[in-house]
Symmetry: C2
């Protein structure tokens, strides 16, 4: 089996995450000079900058030119763009290519790939739990992977050696914990830990028009609304693609909020204090 360090890796999309992955592949010595990191991006300027900065070896403005050369392809584009890309480029991949993605939803992508993926390609769906409210290649350096979570939702047909190789690569990029789960479980949990949190941050900003409110900030508000600096097109996609799970989570949360509101309104000191103490203990148990 060909050594990972000699692989030709193709990045589809060189935004924040594509850029951060390419950087990690090189800086951690995962892909060495015997191997190559190529990239396709719709913005030629991004490709030029990435090449000049040594993040990639070469940029391609036409995906076909790249896909035919790759051993491993990272799809680092939004879910809808990913489905569109795979529909149009399926013939361009080299037989045996290992393909993975970073999309924040898995159910609809896995369902589509199970039907349309070529028999001779191996697609392992993934979701690195890292990012930044500052998007684009320019901020890729500030997106660190150290100790972070990575979710994989392998397909039954995935080759064990490819799964093992991808996991090795993920740990070598710095991630601290890989969880293998089903696409459904992924979407259910991500609706809570990621999407609901973004909806809450957006709702918080949405309900206060005075931008001078930050004079009254002491850290909590800043922490809760950091992620309100969201990439609107991407999050719109994620919210709507995972609509069903997200709506359930919003309703659960609204129910908890309402119970707390009623305890505050009723001035039930003891009940409220007990509930807050239980929250504190549960949060402390979340490690």
């Amino acid at each position: 089996m060909k050594g990972l360090e000699t692989y030709t890796v193709g990045m589809v999309g060189l935004g924040l995450m594509g850029g951060a992955i390419a950087l990690a592949l090189r800086s951690e010595g995962i892909i060495r000079t015997e191997g190559r990191i190529l990239a396709y991006d719709r913005d030629p300027d991004t490709l030029e900058k990435a090449k000049a900065a040594g993040i990639i070896d070469d940029g391609m403005s036409v995906p076909e030119a790249m896909l035919g050369q790759c051993d491993l392809v990272f799809l680092c584009i939004t879910p809808r763009a990913l489905l569109h890309f795979m529909e149009n480029q399926m013939a361009a991949f080299r037989p045996g290519t290992l393909i993975t993605d970073i999309a924040g939803i898995k159910g609809s992508i896995v369902a589509a790939m199970e039907h349309t993926l070529r028999e001779d390609l191996d697609f392992i769906p993934g979701h690195p739990m890292a990012g930044s409210e500052l998007g684009g290649l320019a901020h890729a350096k500030s997106c660190t992977f150290q100790g972070k979570n990575y979710i994989l939702t392998p397909l039954k047909r995935n080759k064990p050696e490819n799964l093992a190789l991808l996991k090795t690569l993920i740990y070598r990029m710095g991630f601290g914990r890989i969880t293998e789960t089903s696409p459904q479980e992924h979407d259910r949990n991500i609706a809570f830990t990621s999407q609901l949190c973004h909806v809450i941050a957006a709702a918080l900003i949405d309900c206060e028009a005075d931008t001078r409110i930050t004079r009254f900030g002491g850290g909590s508000f800043e922490d809760l609304t950091r992620i309100a600096m969201l990439n609107a097109p991407m999050w719109t996609e994620l919210f709507i693609e995972n609509q069903e799970e997200l709506l359930k989570r919003i309703e659960q949360f609204a129910g908890s909020l309402d119970r707390l509101k009623r305890a505050i309104a009723a001035g039930e000191r003891t009940a409220l204090e007990q509930r807050l103490q239980a929250v504190r203990e549960r949060r402390a148990a979340m490690v």
Copy 2:
């Protein structure tokens, strides 16, 4: 006028904030060896540890013994404890003492002080916008003031020279911005930037029983729920003391959340994206 560095300062309560203030007064050279830092706390062990660590010069288990010596008193206890303390100790303060507090609500405290404060004492209500989810003197070192906000809600009767002195002291402790406002404006805004955020964090934890959910965390969930590690008795007091403003803020937030929920449920891509873009821009303008 006596120099600040020679003041005898009395800390009432040596928890996280009392401890952090005492530390700053000494480490920033605000109170030097010609001056003294005294403390009263209901826990004798805390006083002993603070004295042994050089955070205070002396600890007093009886407040009267301390108050008669102080030029400046910091009340670093919860709102209800503060009102109770002032009711019982009013006679013990030395004439002319400058008193300030750090309570997270101001309306009810100011109302009480306006009626009951001795004529020869000067009370300037304050709220340092700093803290930590880790409470107690043991964590005082990790509570930094650098660049943080500080709110003052001065009374009409405050002496200008005392207000100037307190502001100097606040900046010298490291705070970056002092905002003077009314108790009502403070309570209205704090209900949003601080209390609502704590209610949201608590509601988030309240609606997910699986502590292994953190495997799916990517930073957002961790940021939004850090403050769910709350001091239950203190936050119960703050929520109930500021009930009216907090309930308004919870309702505003629930309204925004519901609007986002409906846009997601309706699958209104364009409308949702526009709303998220507006949120992003407003958050970016909050500096």
